[in-house]
Symmetry: C2
Subunit: 240 residues, 2 copies
């Protein structure tokens, strides 16, 4: 059975403007790979209701899972929850289970659960809460969309809450062979290898260090023995 | 007149698998912001012909410019040029102007211009070459799609070749106000500010350092005086 597929949706003007560098994508990609869920696509869109809604619909139809990051805080630009609700035609309002979590948290910290903070308890009907051990305000899963915060520490904690609840497949394994020749010299070998091992994905990533050209050949797949066989054959062909 | 819009398309299994971290998006986002071109969306797709073609078509219809990175080398997994040609219904083959560039380069370096390397001269009919001062093999512009290499040093050089040829708009300016209070405390101020300055984009990015919550309020727009006014008002309201 093929592995489940996934997409990530990053909501973030601050990334598109170049102000900050996304920190969540690389983390999620690595976690999904370990868990045997194939990340097939990432989209980064701006904090714009129509852009978010359109992307959520497209991705949730095309993939088994969608993981979103960003836009679920207390301020006016945090519109993700409402957009996801609209994409699924779900009603959204302050939900009592989420409000109870926030009340307990703010009671303890002596801060007021004001109208802005209460926005973080807006959860669509039918959604399951995602635990947030860092700062309490929960994420949620609606349909196949897992809605998480953008703050990296919170995002990571939410991924750790969600992933064990999802059925994974076989972890994607990989081996890398470093070749100190230009890509163009080994392209014919790689092409033949890719044909004979069509159950594996064979990528070639060139580098240039101090004017010397080389390439990292990365062989990926779910069967470790096949990856061994492919790497061994290539090393032999290239006299490595 | 509103600024031109753009999307970026990253072609990269190695990013989706978590093996490497994308290095080009952040660079391009900053360059476009300086040049007055609004980056509205980024998509990362795998090295898959259908995924690339679908994304190119969607993005080139939705935005004024599309910048792609990755998949234009000499190996079997370098399929971007052919996919872009198909997306535009253009014929593609080894083109003499590109072949001449490669011939001169490989003659000089004493390497053979073999069949694999000649693949890098496959350029769609009607495309304009993008200069590559780092490693010669050119990128190209077809329609509104600018096709560039994924190797960061080459990507940057190609961006530097392309950007001056594009009509930009007003550079996107921004100012940041650091507030040492939780987002929830300042949300009402921000919401009112966003309403009164609806020509600006006002984002709020929370942080947590040693257990203390704070937020960076970022005000973006093309009119520096308006940004000044918004920041000044907010600072006064918050007694900063």
């Amino acid at each position: 059975m093929p592995n489940p597929t996934a997409a990530m949706l990053v909501i973030g003007d601050e990334i598109l403007s170049g102000r900050t560098r996304d920190a969540n994508m690389h983390f999620l990609a690595q976690e999904l790979t370990k868990h045997g869920i194939d990340l097939k696509e990432v989209r980064i869109v701006s904090d714009d209701a129509e852009a978010i809604e359109t992307a959520v619909k497209a991705l949730s139809q095309a993939y088994d899972h969608v993981f979103s990051s960003g836009g679920i805080g207390p301020t006016h630009d945090d519109i993700t929850a409402d957009c996801i609700a609209r994409a699924f035609g779900a009603r959204i309002d302050v939900r009592e289970d989420a409000r109870a979590l926030l009340e307990a948290h703010y009671d303890q910290s002596g801060l007021e659960l004001n109208a802005a903070r209460l926005r973080m308890a807006r959860i669509p009907d039918g959604a399951t809460l995602i635990d947030n051990p860092v700062s309490t305000a929960p994420g949620f899963t609606l349909g196949n969309v897992h809605v998480m915060a953008g703050v990296p520490s919170v995002f990571r904690a939410m991924v750790a809450s969600v992933l064990p609840t999802l059925t994974g497949g076989k972890p994607l394994l990989s081996q890398t062979l470093r070749v100190n020749r230009g890509e163009g010299d080994i392209a014919a070998n790689l092409s033949a290898l890719a044909q004979d091992f069509d159950d594996l994905s064979i990528g070639c990533y060139p580098f240039q260090i101090n004017g010397v050209f080389g390439a990292n050949v990365v062989v990926r797949g779910t069967d470790g023995a096949r990856i061994d066989a492919a790497i061994t054959r290539l090393a032999r062909e290239l006299d490595l």
